[in-house]
């Protein structure tokens, strides 16, 4: 049924339709509306046979999830930013144990300086944690991906992180086609665990493993993610059969066939990029975009195949690996190993900075003429940066950087006004 609703609401409903058995969460913006919605649904009895647990921290949230998943319950939680970092030890533990927990990450920047707005630093910080990470482009897809995530997680016995842009998606009202319970039931069978804490057949889970077997256990974690590369498109196809729409998959090409310049990005910014590309195409420019839906596992061959004709690639990412540059870009380079292509990294949208069509036009055109630096920070205010660098060169006790910059910005504004 078509609905006009908030992204968080759509996700909460999709999770509810997936018949979760244990939900545990700790509030953090911009994840709050999702778990508030679920809490209410459980309390009202709209979700039957489900326990909702208000925990005392994100670390506890993931720990409760570990316990309930190991005891055989379909388990869901959600977090963002500092919350994801606070639970990290348990995040690794969940994947190490192979527990099919589904978690929404409402992508948000990481502090300091504290910042509640969107970028991808949080989930990128966990790119090696062993979870599958899939990114939603729209609220429709966010809802759909959650339903797919339970299936994917449970078939592989691996946890799945569904990443959706905080605020930009979670707090946006748009049209969503909500599936029916019958459809979801036809798509998603009840959870049948590979391992379970059951008094009728006792097992020990989580014992220490020494050098004699640790590599093998880790290799199998990798092998499972390689299996996911095949399973993700399959599940997406099954989804289409029942729900009648494209959602998920490994990558999403747009205007790619003949494109000389190809932009690569993840998440909701793909929409703005597509609109920009339409405008550039109208000007006769040969440009396209490749959206990455599955960041872990990283679809190396799908990307390599999609980019075979491209001359240059612009990786536009909402994350920064301090000290080297791009995170996604590094992986893209790996996928294109041995191919002769220019690769530009554009770091954009950090801490919620708007990514506008006009800025995209500018960098895409610079790249087309091969005039872009290898690592570019979109819309960076150089005067402010240089002022602080200068202050640090000349003053020993130069003070806290973030506060200095805010003061400089305030002055710059009042000078204009």
């Amino acid at each position: 049924m078509l609905k006009q609703c908030e992204g968080s609401h759509a996700v909460a409903e999709a999770v509810a339709l997936s018949r979760p058995e244990v939900i545990c969460a700790y509030p953090i913006s911009p994840q709050t509306h999702i778990v508030e919605g679920l809490g209410e649904m459980v309390k009202k009895g709209d979700i039957k046979d489900c326990e909702y647990i208000n925990v005392e921290s994100e670390f506890a949230a993931m720990s409760v999830a570990i316990g309930s998943s190991a005891a055989g319950a379909r388990t869901y939680t959600a977090t963002a930013s500092q919350g994801l970092l606070f639970m990290v030890e348990a995040v690794y533990n969940a994947s190490g144990l192979g527990l099919p927990i589904v978690m929404t990450v409402a992508n948000r920047a990481i502090g300091a300086p504290i910042n509640i707005w969107n970028d991808h630093s949080d989930s990128m910080s966990q790119r090696d944690c062993g979870w599958i990470q899939i990114f939603a482009e729209t609220n429709q897809e966010a809802a759909d991906l959650h339903i797919q995530a339970f299936k994917l997680a449970e078939e592989l016995s691996l946890p799945v992180m569904v990443c959706m842009d905080g605020f930009i998606l979670t707090h946006a009202y748009e049209r969503v086609d909500m599936p029916t319970q019958e459809q979801v039931d036809a798509f998603l069978p009840p959870y049948s665990p590979r391992q379970i804490l059951d008094p009728a057949a006792p097992v020990s889970i989580g014992a220490m493993v020494g050098p004699e077997a640790f590599s093998e256990v880790r290799y199998l974690a990798h092998a499972k993610q390689m299996q996911a590369l095949e399973l993700i498109p399959k599940i997406s196809a099954q989804f289409k059969e029942i729900f009648g729409r494209d959602s998920g998959g490994l990558v999403r090409p747009y205007m790619l066939e003949d494109a000389e310049t190809v932009v690569i990005a993840l998440g909701s910014v793909l929409g703005t990029i597509k609109d920009t590309i339409d405008e550039m195409r109208a000007d006769g420019i040969s440009i396209g975009v490749l959206g990455i839906n599955s960041f872990r596992p990283f679809p190396v061959s799908a990307i390599r195949r999609s980019l075979s004709h491209a001359k240059r690639i612009i990786v536009l990412e909402k994350s920064l690996a301090v000290g080297i540059g791009g995170i996604v870009a590094t992986d893209v380079r790996m996928a294109l190993d041995g191919l002769d292509k220019r690769i530009y990294t554009v770091v954009a949208g950090l801490g919620g900075r708007n990514i506008t069509r006009s800025s995209l036009h500018r960098v895409f055109r610079l790249a087309m003429h091969d005039q872009l630096e290898a690592l570019h920070f979109l819309d960076l205010e150089w005067s402010i940066v240089n002022k602080e660098l200068d202050r640090e060169r000349t003053t020993r006790r130069s003070g806290p950087i973030a506060e200095n910059i805010l003061r400089d910005l305030g002055q710059a504004k009042s000078n204009v006004g």
């Binding site: 729209t138 605020f167 707090h171 946006a172 009202y173 703005t272 609109d275 919620g352 708007n354 069509r357």
Partner: protein, 192 residues
């Protein structure tokens, strides 16, 4: 694509206003996207929300920088921020005030726009009268429906019922209806 920017202060239902506008458009079979300017704004702080309405899927995620219409829920913002930024000469403005444009010192400014597209309505008073609290967002939508002709009053009423129920819904619908009628009358007066 039609783009609306709503200005107001925390506590005035700015975000809810944008959401209801998107629901009203949705109910008329259109695509709509509403989103706030995401701050941790507390009561009283300036807040902005956006709504886009189109006949096909809306992919754009940037904030509305060149609005086709402005809904200004709090006139005191005029002195504080450039609420009119990016508005084209064919744009629409609905301003919440019980003063006239002349009294606001906006007469000259308003000349840049088409007279029947710049309308004031005392939405705060209407919400106090019909709902019993300062919630100008809903009557502003009623006035916007009249001024822009983009959505019908019926759709606004349906969107109100989507968000509220019972007495609150009915009070809001009454406020929106009165605002709609006031705006219609003022548009005709401006034409004349």
């Amino acid at each position: 694509m039609f783009q609306v920017r709503i200005h107001g202060r925390g506590g005035q239902g700015v975000v809810t206003g944008a959401e209801m506008l998107s629901i009203a458009a949705f109910l008329e079979g259109r695509h709509a996207q509403a989103f706030p300017s995401f701050g941790s704004e507390r009561t009283g702080a300036p807040v902005v929300a956006f709504c886009r309405i189109a006949d096909k899927e809306i992919r754009l995620r940037e904030p509305v920088m060149e609005p086709d219409a402005l809904i200004i829920q709090d006139a005191t913002l005029l002195a504080q921020i450039d609420v009119f930024a990016g508005l084209s000469e064919n744009g629409y403005v609905v301003l919440n005030t019980n003063h006239t444009l002349e009294e606001m010192g906006l007469a000259e400014f308003a000349q840049r726009f088409r007279a029947e597209r710049v309308i004031t309505v005392s939405a705060t008073d209407l919400s106090l009268k019909h709902v019993g609290r300062n919630a100008p967002n809903v009557p502003m939508l009623g006035a916007f429906a009249a001024v822009s002709g983009l959505i019908s009053l019926d759709s606004v009423a349906a969107a109100i019922r989507d968000k509220f129920s019972g007495k609150v819904a009915e009070g809001n619908i009454a406020a929106a209806t009165e605002a709609y009628n006031i705006a219609k009358a003022r548009m005709e007066a401006a034409h004349a």
